[in-house]
Symmetry: C2
Subunit: 463 residues, 2 copies
C-alpha cells in the first residue's frame, strides 16, 4: 500500500514541485501585509484540485486560519499545523536570484519560505493527494490548520485556539518544520521555545538635528544603547531581575535526550564562517545552552544615517527590535512586566515598549503516539537514525494550539542543514521534498496504527 502511494508520488513529482514553486511566487509577508489574500486563494484552489474540498477561512483579529478536514476510518484525528506566511526577504541584495521567483538549481529550490514553511505545507497536502489517488481510505481523520501570522508571532492564535478548541481537537499533531543535519539525519522535535518580541524606542527632538547640537541635546540613540546595555552583560547573562526565576529545571529525561541529541559543531562553524561558538562553548554545555536556555537577541537596531559616507546628524529617534526566546516555565507576560520594571529602575522610564509577540514554550513527551509513529517512519525512510531534539530552539504557537488542549505534537520536515531559513537564499533539496511527501503519507498510516490500538487521547503532553 505504501509502495503504491510512493509510486504515485514519484509519478507526480513534477506537479508537486510546481504546486510548491507556484505557492512560493506569492510574497505572503505578514509583517508587511503583502500577498496574504493571494496565498489564501491559492490554498483554496489547491485544496479543490488536490483533495476536492474547500477549506474554511476561520477569521481571527489578524489574517484568517485556513482549515480543512478529511474524514477517516476511526474517530481518531491527526492534525497538521503549518503557516502560509513567510519572513520578509531583506537583505534583498544578498539573494542570488529574487526571493519570490523560485529558482531550481543544483537539485535545490531557492525561494523565500520554501523551507519555512511552504515546502512542508505543500508536502503534506501532496501526501494526502497521493493517498487519495491510491484509492486508500484514511485510517484517521485529518485536519489541516494553516495560520497566516506565524512569522509575526501568532499574536491572534491563542484567542483562535480557545474559540475553536473543539474544532481543532486531535489525538496527535504534526508541527510545521523539520531539518536534516549535515550527515543527513532527520531531526524530530518534541517542543519549541517561547518568545517575547518587543520593539524598544527612544524619542529625542522633534526632528533630526545637525550633530553639533549633540553637545547640549539629548540623543535617543545613546539612550537606547545604554538601555540595551543594561539588559544583557558580555557574559550573555540577562540582567532583568527575575528573568530566570520560573524556568522549569531540566529533568533527568531531558538530560538523557540531550546526551543523545547530535549537534555537529564543526560543520556548523564551517557553514557560518566562524571560529567558535558563543563564549567558546562546546559539547554538552553548548547543546544545553542551545536547547534549554533562553536568549535575549537584537533582531534590529536603527537610528540616524545609514547611507554611504558621512552625515553629521543627531537622530531624533532610535528603535530596537529585541526577541527573548523563552524556555518552559517562563511566562512572556510576566517577563514583559519585569522588563518594564527593570528599565524604569535603571532610569529609562521614557524608553517605549511595544509587544509584537508573546508565546510560551511547549513540550511533548517522547512516549506520545505521534512521537513514536514519527520516529518509526523516519527510521524506515532513512539510512541515518533520527536525531531527537528535545526542544527546538525555534518558536511557534505550539503551547496554545496543542499543549494547552492536551494534544501531543512533534515535528519533522523537508529542510536541510543549509536551508537558510529567515536569511537570503533560503532553499530545500528537491529529494528531501519528495521524501517529505512520502514520509507524511506514511505517517498517516503509522499514526493510525498506533493510535487506533492505543486509544489514548488528551493525555500525552507534558504540562
Amino acid at each position: 500500500m505504501v509502495n503504491k502511494i510512493e509510486q504515485i508520488i514519484e509519478e507526480n513529482r513534477h506537479m508537486y514541485i510546481k504546486w510548491l514553486t507556484d505557492f512560493c511566487e506569492i510574497p505572503s509577508v505578514a509583517a508587511q501585509k503583502r500577498g496574504m489574500t493571494e496565498a489564501v486563494d491559492y490554498l483554496d484552489s489547491l485544496f479543490e484540485r488536490a483533495l476536492e474540498t474547500t477549506p474554511e477561512k476561520l477569521e481571527t483579529d489578524g489574517f484568517p486560519v485556513v482549515f480543512a478536514e478529511l474524514p477517516g476510518k476511526s474517530d481518531k484525528i491527526l492534525s497538521f499545523y503549518n503557516h502560509y506566511d513567510v519572513q520578509p526577504e531583506d537583505p534583498v541584495e544578498l539573494w542570488k536570484t529574487p526571493a519570490f521567483q523560485p529558482d531550481i538549481r543544483e537539485g535545490k529550490i531557492f525561494a523565500r519560505g520554501v523551507a519555512d514553511n511552504k515546502g512542508n505545507l505543500i508536502a503534506r497536502v501532496a501526501a494526502l493527494h497521493a493517498i487519495k489517488q491510491a484509492g486508500e481510505e484514511l485510517p484517521v481523520a485529518i485536519k489541516f490548520i494553516f495560520e497566516g501570522e506565524e512569522e509575526i508571532g501568532s499574536l491572534h492564535l491563542p484567542a483562535f485556539a480557545r474559540k475553536y478548541a473543539d474544532k481543532i481537537r486531535a489525538d496527535g499533531n504534526v508541527w510545521e518544520f523539520g531539518y536534516r543535519d549535515a550527515d543527513g539525519a532527520l531531526q524530530v522535535s518534541l517542543g519549541v521555545k517561547g518568545m517575547l518580541y518587543v520593539e524598544l524606542s527612544a524619542q529625542g527632538a522633534s526632528s533630526d538635528l545637525h550633530s553639533a547640537q549633540a553637545a547640549i541635546i539629548e540623543s535617543p540613540a545613546w539612550k537606547l544603547i545604554w538601555a540595551l546595555n543594561s539588559l544583557k552583560g558580555q557574559d550573555e547573562k540577562v540582567l532583568i531581575p527575575g528573568f530566570y526565576d520560573d524556568i522549569t529545571p531540566i529533568s533527568e529525561l531531558d538530560q538523557e535526550m540531550l546526551k543523545h541529541y547530535r549537534f555537529d559543531e564543526e560543520e556548523t562553524l564551517n557553514k557560518l564562517a566562524l571560529d567558535n561558538f558563543l563564549l567558546d562553548l562546546e559539547g554538552s554545555e553548548l547543546k544545553e545552552k542551545h536547547i534549554f536556555e533562553p536568549t535575549c537577541n537584537i533582531c534590529g537596531i536603527h537610528s540616524g544615517y545609514a547611507g554611504e559616507g558621512t552625515k553629521t546628524v543627531l537622530p531624533s529617534q532610535a528603535k530596537a527590535k529585541v526577541d527573548f526566546r523563552l524556555v518552559p516555565g517562563q511566562d512572556p507576560d510576566k517577563i514583559l512586566k519585569q522588563l518594564r520594571q527593570h528599565l524604569d529602575d535603571q532610569g529609562f522610564t521614557d524608553i517605549g515598549i511595544q509587544v509584537t509577540s508573546a508565546e510560551r514554550a511547549a513540550r511533548t513527551s517522547p512516549d506520545a503516539a505521534i512521537v513514536e509513529a514519527m520516529l518509526n517512519v523516519v527510521e524506515k525512510h532513512s539510512s541515518t537514525k533520527p536525531n531527537i531534539v528535545p526542544n527546538t530552539p525555534g518558536t511557534g504557537p505550539m503551547y496554545d494550539l496543542c499543549q494547552a488542549l492536551g494534544i501531543p505534537s512533534a515535528s519533522f520536515g523537508v529542510g536541510n542543514f543549509e536551508s537558510n531559513t529567515h536569511a537570503p537564499n533560503e532553499n530545500i533539496n528537491i529529494e528531501d521534498y519528495i521524501d517529505g511527501i512520502k514520509m507524511a503519507a506514511a505517517l498517516v498510516f503509522e499514526f493510525g496504527e498506533k493510535i487506533n490500538s492505543k486509544g489514548a487521547r488528551y493525555s500525552d503532553s507534558i504540562n
Copy 2:
C-alpha cells in the same frame, strides 16, 4: 556707493533668487557622489554670466575645488570659503516638498543645501556681481574657494591647502555659514570645532541567521552596543583614556566672550519640542558645554531588520557612525589612536574602525581686521546687536585652510534660527538672503578700509 549697490541688488533680487534655486535643484550630495559635476558646471556658467570670469577647477584626490580670483585696488586679499556639496536628504518622507525641488512659500526658500551653504555661496557671488554692475573698483582682491567635500569631512582639503598655500593666501577670510538667532540677531563666529568621524563595525556569521541561533552564535549587534557603551557614560563623559588631556584651557577672553554670547534657551527648547537640555544644563554651564566642550555623538547605528512588524533574525553585521566634535588642542589623529587602544583594552579588538573625517578646531582673535569689519557691517545693517560666537559648535576645515596659513577667518551668513540644516525642510528667509548679499558687498569695502589702513597680514589668528 553702498546705496547704489544695494539698489542694484534690489533690482536684481528675482535673478539672484533664481541663481540660488537653480543651484539647489542640483543634488550635489558628495557622500553619494550625486550631481557633483553638474554643480561644478553650474558654477562655471554662473561665474561667466555674473563676473565674466572662468573659475579654475583645482584637482584634489576627491572632488575639485572651484577657485576664482578678482583683481583689486590694493595688494590685500579677501577670500570667501564655501562648499558646493550638501548633506543627503534623508529622511525623505519628512520633507513637505521634495528636497531638490526648491519651494518658495511663506517668504522662505525650502531646499536641501539652501542654508548650508548654497545660499551663502550664491549671495557672495551675487554681491560681487552687484559691485561690478555698479562700476565700482574692488578695494582688495577677492578669492573664491569653493570645495566639494565639506559635508563628508573635507578629507582632501589639508593636502590641497598645503599644495596651494600661495594661491589661497589672503589677509582675511569669510567662512561659509551664519545664522540669525530667534530675536533676529546675526551670529558672527570666530572659530569652528574639529572632528573625528568614524564608522565602527562588527561582523558575525557569514549571513543573517534565524534568531533561534542567538543562544549559541555571537551577535555583532550586541558586541557593537557593548563597545559603544564603553565610549561614553550616561553622565556624558567620554570614557576614552586621554580624550580630554590636550584641550586648551578656556582663556579669560573666551570667558568674557562667552558671557556676552546670547543663547535663547526657551526658544530653542520650544523649537525642538523638548523640556530640557542635556543633563538639565542651563545658563553659562550650558553655553560653555555647547561652545567649548567636545562631543561623542552617534550619527547612525544600523543592524538587522528595520521593516514593519517582526523579523526574528540574528544579524550578521552591525555598524555605527560616530562623530567626535573636537575643541582647540585636541588632535583627531591622536584621538583615533586612543579610541583604538581603548576598544582593544576593553576586549573589542575585532570592532573595525574606518575614518571618514579628521579635522582640528580653529579660532580667530576678535581683534583681526576681518572680525572688526564684519561686526561693523552687521551693526550697520541690523537693528539687533551681532551675537558673537567665540567658537561655533559646528565643524569645517578652517584650521587647514586658514589658521595653519595665518589667515584670520570669521563667519556670517543667510541662515536663520529654524533653518533645519542637515535636517528635513531646510530653509532660509528670502529677506535674509537679500540682506546677506548686501552685507557681503558692504564687507568687501569695510574690510578694504580696515586692512588697507592697518597693513596687517598673516598675524591675527590665534595659534
